[in-house]
Symmetry: C2
């Protein structure tokens, strides 16, 4: 059993097209023996966002802190602490920080 | 895409041997079209706990609020907001609320 506080893991900057001010921590991954899916913690700076993109794997997201929006079919839907988001496989999505504090969420994804 | 606040879902009492003061909300499940795994939100009352049990599916847990402990190999390990717990398949586990406020966590599990 792995028991870890997210602050005890070093964040890595997320790079690539369409990403601004985003870090990731891989809290649980295949390296831990997780057989099916991984848990990552993302932090998005005020004004930052993840890429507007799509992929074959689904996301299951839970917002921890901060306020922002998720892109859904061309419109932005508000998100905040306690919001759960299911992004089905192949659906375009993007997470924006629209607030003044860090937007923090965990995102689970099946191993690719 | 499903976007929902956990408070907008009704909690169900968890019943069964070895469970005390626990509710569950299924935030994302196979009914939503989630292909691989589900997200549930648990609330454990002060003094309450989940069953000490084992099963073939893994758990990936993230603590949101409250303080408590997880049973690991016969000892209790403290948990609190920001703690991630990976319970491998077949490993015995139990989550205790050892604080004075509700212990709240999300728990992902593959579909059985």
């Amino acid at each position: 059993m792995k028991i870890i506080h997210y602050r005890d893991m070093k964040p890595d900057q997320v790079t690539g097209d369409g990403v601004t001010g985003v870090t990731i921590r891989w809290l649980i991954s295949a390296d831990d023996g997780a057989p099916h899916f991984a848990m990552r913690l993302f932090e998005v700076e005020p004004g930052g966002h993840t890429p507007l993109h799509t992929h074959e794997t689904e996301h299951e997201v839970f917002i921890l802190e901060g306020t922002g929006a998720v892109w859904r079919s061309g419109e932005e839907v508000e998100i905040g602490p306690g919001t759960a988001v299911f992004v089905p496989p192949g659906e375009k999505h993007c997470f924006f920080n629209r607030g003044t504090a860090v937007l923090k969420f965990i995102c689970m994804v099946p191993h690719s």
